[in-house]
Amino acid sequence: MQLANEKTPGMSDANSSKPLLRLKNVKQHFPITAGLLRRQAGMIKAVDGVDFDLMPQENLGLVGESGCGKTTLGRTILHLYRPTEGQILFKDVNLTQLKPSALRALRPKMQMIFQDPQDSLNPRMTVGSIIAEPLDEHSTLKGKDRSNRVEELLDAVGLNPRYTNRYPHEFSGGQRQRIGIARALGLNPEFIICDEPIAALDVSIQAQVVNLLEDLQEKLGLTYLFISHDLGMIRHISKRVAVMYLGKIVELGPAHELYSRSRHPYTKALLSAVPLHNPGREAKRERIILTGDVPSPANPPSGCPFRTRCPIAETRCANSMPQPKKLSLGHWVACHLVD
């Protein structure tokens, strides 16, 4: 999605109030090196031109199949990778141009909850020191105040505050994810990227963690970017949903509208893959089954990235990349065949 012009960037409403986060044509390309001298042989276009706005206290869901660039986009927003191109504005500060030290000073305000609760905690640090580390780095809390804050955080995520001296491996997956959440909350962030926070948990725990995240959002006024491939969960938790395919956002809109009146053929196919709870209706349900694999992000198809698997693709789809079209307030779709 290229910028149409500076005033109306793709997929964001011009008349909206001040966004907390604004992405403008963000690209994240990784070089592929090959051969004896490790010359650059190509580019993995993991994120290839993404724009959207995120309002304060909003919860934007980001869905898409494996390898479409959801996680990379999340990490790029937080500058865990330097974006190749584009601008990321957080509270009107352009993160891409910040020096590493200035960026570090901003980190308390934007945090991430990681997908894997097992590996994302340092196995040799106690839970207390994992949670306290950001406090040491960014706050002046010391001694008793510091340990009180750690206990308060553990309590906030529903863990026993006496667990501070235990190590991560002594906890279950759901408890570890709570530790990850407590760590992210430590410095009162405004914006949290939840990178598939429930994917590694079993279903009974998923509900607990999602409810915890919702409660915390309400209590602390957080803004979430909720990355998931669980469409049902996104429908439950997010008011607005972005659908990503091969590094690009193909459809973005209010959750109720997107789930009931999706326009992009990829979104339709994705939604048709969600099973229904009623077995009788499930048996009769018509599914849109996509053929073929996701094209390699190193060598994406010309024009529309989805055209190779699209059931309704035409010749013009191969010729040009569809520009995002506004269908109704806040509902954007990038497809030539949608009017």
Partner: protein
């Protein structure tokens, strides 16, 4: 933890007994003759008398038992008496393990030679570690950079070229051509003045460098691999997202986790210090433990070989235990109950 250590120590006793017997049997069954190095003019009756005086006429199990008693009981009692002045039992008639070559107690020979080995081999081990760890860290952090490529090449050179080659090259270049350092390590040198100290340092430089190069080559590869294993793990990304500086991420999070295999490797390497660098000691004429072992083997001095080899075995078993204990202390996921 204490219980675990005691259990391991108790388990080590039968292990060591078996090891000592295997060493004894191998040495005894080997066709070596302590009188073999004597001149041809010595008649065979005299040779036979010499063998009898060494106790070689007794059956093997008796000799093994005698050696074992001397090693396990007599020598420790002797050390106790000399160090603390505590006399237990009949000190006058207590037999010690005697070298067949020098007729002096083997333990005394070992005590005499240990300092040289510890200084040369120990220092090289220490320098090797001090060089290898930072190099390994930088190599891993800047993987595939020019520094990494050069480091990999030098390390490959270091452990594929044996010390008897690098040692000789060092002697030719720095002793013969440039005349910077002495060719032979002088053990009699006593450090009484600044001049002597400088001499001591000078004669240690070459053997220490050659050995440290060899040690660092191996260790830096392990260090690099250990850091690389950890560098891309999720908890490192977590640390970055906490807003920690790169140096804190690397030194606190990555390094501490990467050191677990390295510390084990170092602990297991310490017994090899005592073993001496047999070849390097030969080349630089450092009369340390390695050289003692070589001379004893050449002269079929079985008590010396037996005692030295068994001491190495004890050290290896001991440091294995230390490595395991360190592992448990460094990695909270490992528990010994």
């Amino acid at each position: 933890m204490i219980q675990y250590i005691i259990r391991r120590l108790l388990a080590a006793i039968p292990t060591l007994l078996v090891i000592s017997f295997v060493i004894f049997a191998i040495l005894d069954l080997a066709p070596s003759d302590p009188t073999g190095n004597l001149p041809m003019t010595v008649p065979s009756e005299v040779r036979e008398k010499i063998r009898t005086s060494l106790g070689l006429d007794q059956p093997m199990h008796i000799r093994y038992y005698k050696w074992l008693v001397q090693f396990v009981v007599n020598e420790p009692l002797n050390i106790l008496q000399h160090s603390f002045g505590v006399t237990v039992g009949d000190a006058e008639n207590r037999t010690r393990i005697l070298s067949w070559a020098t007729r002096s107690p083997v333990i005394d020979l070992i005590v005499e030679r240990t300092p040289q080995t510890l200084w040369v081999v120990g220092l090289s081990f220490l320098f090797g570690i001090l060089i290898a760890i930072p190099i390994g860290i930088v190599q891993a952090y800047r993987q595939y950079s020019l520094f990494d490529q050069i480091g990999t090449f030098v390390a490959m050179l270091g452990f594929s070229v044996p010390t008897f080659f690098t040692g000789v090259v060092a002697i030719i270049v720095f002793s013969v051509q440039l005349k910077w350092f002495p060719m032979i390590y002088d053990t009699t040198l006593e450090i009484t003045s600044w001049n002597n100290f400088v001499l001591q340092v000078k004669q240690m430089i070459m053997p220490v460098t050659v050995l440290a190069f060899y040690q660092a080559s191996q260790l830096s590869r392990f260090m690099r691999a250990a850091i690389l294993d950890n560098l891309n793990l999720d908890y490192v990304r977590t640390a970055r997202s906490k807003g920690r500086s790169e140096s804190a991420v690397l030194m606190i999070h990555v390094l501490r986790n990467s050191l677990i295999p390295i510390v084990t490797l170092i602990a297991l390497g310490i017994p090899t210090i005592f073993g001496g660098a047999i070849i390097t000691e030969q080349i630089f004429r450092v009369n340390g433990l390695g050289q003692l072992l070589i001379i004893a083997i050449e002269g079929a001095d079985i008590p010396t070989v037996q005692t030295l080899t068994f001491l190495f075995a004890i050290l290896i078993v001991l440091f294995n235990l230390i490595a395991d204990v360190l592992y448990g202390m460094l990695d909270p996921r490992i528990r010994y109950d």
